[in-house]
Symmetry: C2
Amino acid sequence: MTDNTPHQKISVAIDVLIFTVEDDTLKIVLVKRNEKPFKDLYALPGVALRESETLEEAAERSVGERTGLKNIFLEQLYTFGAIDRDPRNRTVSVAYYALTDPEKLIAVHNADGVSLVPVNEVLAGISPLAFDHREMIDYGRKRLCGKVSYSGIAFEFVPEEFTLPQLQRVYEILLGEKLYKANFRKMISPLVEETGNMLTGQAHRPSKLYRRKG
Amino acid sequence: MTDNTPHQKISVAIDVLIFTVEDDTLKIVLVKRNEKPFKDLYALPGVALRESETLEEAAERSVGERTGLKNIFLEQLYTFGAIDRDPRNRTVSVAYYALTDPEKLIAVHNADGVSLVPVNEVLAGISPLAFDHREMIDYGRKRLCGKVSYSGIAFEFVPEEFTLPQLQRVYEILLGEKLYKANFRKMISPLVEETGNMLTGQAHRPSKLYRRKG
DNA sequence: AATAATTAGTACAAAGATGCTACTAACCAA
DNA sequence: TTGGTTAGTAGCATCTTTGTACTAATTATT
């Protein structure tokens, strides 16, 4: 028989890794904690799961409370369950990751304790993070970078209309290597279509604007 | 601030998808429930998470209780949190998947309510499963098949010493397509080494035995 | 003892993807 | 008008994948 009988209740948290690419850098949204434990340390935006909401709804709520964003790309990442990951009591945290174009985060940056921080700096570990959130970010970045080549997640980091050099830079940042223009275009062209518009004002030849196809 | 404060406690279950490949078929371990809810229906082996154990420890316990197996391949799959997935009370289930060579499951099959069932039959949906376990299996099979090509999981389904045709069949079953011998061998050869032994008694040319390298 | 059946394993050509170089195109700045 | 800069394309070389065809080694059959 399957023993799903609830013998012991445990707190369930939802933490969200909100990633974006800005200034050719992968960045993540962190918030400064203003209560114990880990007061004044940075942490991922998170909420306690309510009885009346699904995991995904809680993740959306967590994103919305901190950034005001709705309907952004959101996927479950991993569930962390180390016994003492929360010093208060046993808490399992279901981590999600969200991806967004940085323009949608402009209003958010520096608004009451919310920061957009380069992931490399966070992982370099100059300043500590609350809970096991550094571990989460480390895991999340690996998953993100691993998925770039075979999924369309890179599109989530650019606006609806984008240029191919822009999109290529996102791929390069996530993959951590330089790509050849010609090959990149051959690979990506079945997935995009021209909008007919151009991006001008760039002190060099203007580039065509594209949108995602399908 | 991050609201990880535990306002409401929720039951946490661990369910495990124990996959194997037998008779050229992907199969999964199911157990017959002998209590409500879903009495007499098949379900995944599962346990309630205890305060004193990690998620992975609970998954190992779940595998061990049903099959007696220890130290088998185990990875977290996904966390399911639909509001009414358990009719008794709000329960979040962290699903894991385990992979094993079918020989290790021989003693288990048909022992007190434990069955080894073809995944295709389960998903075809002739008989209902407890909870959202069919959904879990559907998700798990997709993930498993998606990972075959870029990870070494296929090795988990064969004994320590195996022939390349054997391993190739595992790949073919999971990928759902026929592979070319020559290409398969080129792809797999950096990952394996000959043991020096041969598998004879097969009414045709004997095959070399290999083991996983590294 | 020969031969048929069957699967193991290898060789190699064809097609396609990727790596890489070099060029032309179109804008802004001076 | 010239130079700087990035957009975009052409095309060859190389590596990888696709696919076919062959030889090899065993057991089963006559």
